[in-house]
């Protein structure tokens, strides 16, 4: 005889059928949720998640204070697709950058961070079984967003090629194979996602590289989603090129930008999508049926910021020049430190991050709780728990299919106060001694 289990009366209160919608299956795991929690639990020097630990420029903080004290309308709903002063200045500013007129009310959608712009884009354009080409390594949210939209991610990796027999030492050494890329396009391909400057690698795509991608987009009639949140952060003379400015690309590109990254105020969550009206209107439909409005005061402050930057563009007072200059010093400092302790950095041409090859390190990762995880996850967790230094494992930025081939890199964020970088340096030196 079998003893029947006592019925679990708790379950009677919960629905007998499946609670959650299928669209969220398989996308519940999130690296940021896990690693932010871990970094918070241990007292760490945090070079993990990408946000500055220094203040935004004072003029932008002032702009927010001014907006907060600026009368009733600052605290009530503004226009759904973007606060008029903001879309107007974005149109003016980026119109000048790309060299043609951008319609403030047709070609721009303001969103809750670039993250929501990505969401609106995928939801608006990707249907069940559409394919979306994603270049690896990629900012992790592209994969679950494509999945949630019912699409299929098709991955093509950047690969390090050694220059003149030496090691691949900069992000410029990581390239796409044109043939391999071309082979990924087929009649089901709806879009390709590019991110330049790239997170986590820091690659800044050259014009020729973007031309190869553009040619394929035009040939196969594919939309290009260009995530350019780090557009101002290029180093060593690398130039940021907007793929939307290449011939034939404006009408098929959605370019995504971030107020948070532009003004070192990631907590404001003001982003935007800029593109041809016929495409942006679909993003607006998603937006109006999901969040509808973004916070007014933050948009007003970002508008003020862009107004100032429009006037100072190209001059030494421009924050968009000062910030990369400041970060360049930090980038070099961290790279030197990592090299000196045997952690081979790949020097980024742009962005917030630097990845480092950990394969030469011999560490006893004796932690049973991480046994089944990729090597870099285990290493990062060990580094947090044992050394008090937080980083992010780079295999998180690869597709499930390719993760196992890229388990030997970890990502550092160098957009931190010098004191934070010094503290990290201390930890690393002590450890290497």
């Amino acid at each position: 005889t079998v003893n029947e289990k006592v019925p679990n009366f708790e379950f009677r209160l919960i629905m007998a059928r499946q609670l959650h919608a299928r669209r969220i299956e398989g996308i519940d795991k999130n690296i940021w949720v896990d690693f932010t929690q871990l970094a918070a639990d241990y007292k760490v020097v945090n070079l993990g998640q990408g946000f500055p630990d220094f203040s935004p420029p004072s003029y932008i903080q002032e702009a927010l204070c001014k907006a907060v004290n600026g009368g009733c309308s600052m605290h009530q709903y503004t226009h759904a697709f973007g606060h008029p002063p903001l879309v107007s200045i974005l149109a003016k500013f980026f119109g000048r950058v790309v060299g043609h007129e951008i319609d403030a009310f047709e070609d721009i959608l303001v969103t809750v961070g670039a993250y929501q712009a990505l969401f609106c884009t995928f939801q608006a354009l990707v249907d069940e079984d559409d394919e979306v080409i994603i270049i690896e390594p990629f900012f992790d949210c592209y994969q679950p967003m494509v999945k949630m939209a019912g699409g299929k991610g098709v991955y093509v990796p950047l690969r390090p090629v050694s220059m003149e027999g030496g090691k691949a030492l900069t992000s410029a050494d990581w390239v796409l194979s044109s043939e391999e890329l071309a082979s990924k396009f087929n009649p089901r391909t709806k879009a390709i996602v590019i991110n330049t400057p790239n997170n986590p690698l820091g690659k800044v795509y050259k014009r020729e590289e973007l031309q190869v991608i553009a040619d394929l987009c035009i040939k196969h009639d594919v939309v290009c989603i260009s995530d350019e949140v780090y557009e101002w952060l290029t180093y060593d003379g690398a130039k940021h090129v907007k793929i939307a400015s290449l011939p034939g690309m404006w009408e098929r590109t959605v370019t995504i930008g971030s107020g948070g990254k532009s003004f070192s105020a990631t907590g404001w969550k003001v982003g935007w999508a800029i593109g041809a009206g016929p495409i942006v209107k679909h993003l607006k439909t998603v937006h109006q049926n999901s969040v509808y409005h973004c916070a007014t005061a933050a948009q007003e402050a970002v508008a003020q910021g862009f107004q100032r930057e429009y006037e100072l563009f190209g001059t030494p007072e421009s924050y968009f020049l000062q910030l990369p200059e400041m970060l360049n010093q930090k980038r070099k400092k961290l790279a030197t430190c990592l090299e000196s302790v045997g952690l081979q950095p790949i020097l980024p041409e742009g962005g917030y991050f630097m990845i480092s090859d950990i394969s030469s390190l011999k560490v006893d990762l004796n932690d049973p709780s991480t046994q089944d995880e990729p090597h870099d996850y285990r290493f990062v967790k060990w580094l947090i728990k044992e050394k008090g230094l937080a980083t992010i494992p780079v295999s998180a930025f690869y597709s499930p299919e390719h993760r196992k081939d890229f388990q030997n890199y970890i990502r550092f964020c160098f957009v931190k106060e010098d004191s934070t970088l010094n503290a990290a340096e201390d930890i690393l030196r002590k450890w290497s001694d």
């Binding site: 709903y77 939801q123 249907d127 009639d221 679909h282 999901s290 409005h293």
Partner: protein, 462 residues
């Protein structure tokens, strides 16, 4: 005053003998069944303001047939909206925008935001599912309201307004092919959100009690037929959406009414999505009841609230969902794959506001109660004025809005076109005949919206 008809908030009414115009502070809401493009462009001509936006659904040449929208948003762009921008300086133009207060938010809330903005750390990313100090404050406030502990990290999700909570809930819990019951009249976004989730909206109207005369009607006189409601539940029903206090009618569902709904939810094993953004705006003699507190309901209910409506800061776009972990965790999954986190300084400021009012809960100085008292005076004033001019307002028990029956005015409008609902024609007639011509507008002709504004704005029309 300037004219700005905005899309955002309009509600659907059951067609019937009584024609209602929902009055809203800066917007006229009108039912718009079958509004065509031709009608919209006609409205443009009549109103004759600078249209800086051309509403055209398909005029832009599509560069490629492949760049078409996904199926999930098919037909959802046509939620009718007419966007006219104000010719701001023109004094003959009447502001008919969307629903938000034009009285300032309480000073301590604004100060809290200014203070938060000055703290470096608070300008950077915070916890995705809700800033810790905010979810802890919410846990305190609602723990008291619900009468049981609420886990700040597992049973609360902070979202971009009540709107964002509705979206997260639908995307998380509503499956393609499901049915979702919606009570009419309803806040307009429910239907497109249900459709975007691939489900079917099943509508059931509130109806005026049959023994009621149209003078002195209250929102309490608008009720559901229990049998009719029961008949809407099928094996495909995944959820029912309720909104209490209701937008636009202002109905506050009684305990008995909520019990009827919850009995059906339990019997048919469905979820309940309870939109309670106006939960504090309860007028004398009425009580707001949370359906999640009824037996058997906590485990199957998501309750949605709004900082914007609580603190008169709609432009902050912060809201929250409260519910059991086994439901909230799915909303959190949606959140981490849609916008990840809400703005930090705003969340910190709302936390400070909540903590201040938590200490004062139950006392007259608490903003949760003092706002309701303030608005009640305006509600009564507006109702009296409308009654004076021969209209029949439905006195709302709660919320921001007041609906008005204009049939007693007996305005015949054959010249306003014949393929539109009467209330839409009435509104356009009003604009054309009473506003546009800049006549001596007296109280009789100007339809006020919600009274959540300084009444003198209304009077300057005279």
């Amino acid at each position: 005053m300037w004219l700005e008809l905005e899309r955002s908030r309009h509600t659907h009414f059951p067609l019937g003998i009584h024609i209602f115009l929902q009055l809203n502070i800066v917007g006229l809401f009108f039912s718009y069944m079958n509004i065509t493009r031709r009608t919209l462009s006609s409205a443009c001509r009549w109103i004759n303001i600078n249209c800086i936006r051309n509403i055209s659904y398909s005029q832009c040449a599509m560069t490629s047939s492949r760049h078409i929208n996904s199926k999930r948003i098919e037909g959802l762009d046509k939620n009718v909206w007419v966007a006219f921008t104000s010719v701001a300086a023109d004094p003959t133009i009447v502001n008919l925008g969307q629903g938000y207060p034009d009285i300032p938010p309480p000073a301590y809330v604004k100060e809290a935001l200014a203070n938060a903005a000055a703290v470096d750390k608070l300008n950077q990313y915070t916890r995705g599912f809700g800033h810790p100090s905010l979810v802890k404050a919410l846990s305190q406030v609602y723990g008291k309201v619900y009468g049981h502990q609420i886990d700040p990290f597992k049973e609360i999700l902070v979202t971009v307004g009540g709107y964002g909570s509705l979206f997260s809930t639908m995307q998380a819990l509503v499956e393609v092919g499901d049915e979702v019951i919606i009570i009419e009249p309803f806040f307009d976004c429910y239907v497109p959100m249900v459709r975007m989730a691939g489900a079917t909206p099943v509508l059931i109207p509130l109806r005026l009690r049959s023994n009621k005369e149209t003078s002195s009607v209250s929102s309490a006189d608008w009720v559901l037929d229990p049998e009719e409601l029961a008949s809407k539940f099928t094996s495909k029903t995944k959820a029912i959406i309720i909104n209490t206090p209701n937008n636009p009618i202002g109905k506050i569902f009684t305990k008995g009414e909520l019990q009827t709904i919850s009995d059906l939810c339990i019997k048919h094993d469905t979820l309940c999505i309870s939109d309670e953004v106006y939960e504090w705006l309860i007028y004398k003699g009425h009580q707001h009841i949370k359906i999640a507190t009824l037996p058997g309901m906590w485990d199957r209910t998501i309750t949605i609230s709004s900082a914007g409506k609580t603190f008169s800061v709609t432009g902050w776009k912060l809201g929250w969902s409260i519910g059991p972990e086994h439901l909230i965790k799915h909303l959190q999954t949606v959140m981490q794959n849609t916008l990840y986190t809400c703005p930090t300084p705003l969340q910190e400021a709302v936390a400070q506001g909540l903590l201040r009012d938590y200490e004062l809960m139950g006392q007259p100085e608490c903003y949760f109660s003092s706002l309701a008292v303030e608005l009640e005076g305006k509600r009564d004033r507006m109702a009296a004025i409308l009654q004076d001019v021969g209209m029949s307002p439905i006195i709302p028990e709660g919320g921001y809005f007041m609906c008005v029956d204009v049939t007693p005015l007996n305005q015949d409008l054959p010249h306003m076109g014949d393929d539109e609902p009467y209330d839409y024609k009435f509104v356009k007639w009003m604009i054309k005949e009473k506003v546009r011509k800049n006549q001596q507008l007296d109280a009789t002709s100007y339809l006020r919206f919600k009274w959540h504004t300084i009444p003198f704005i209304y009077l300057t029309f005279v």
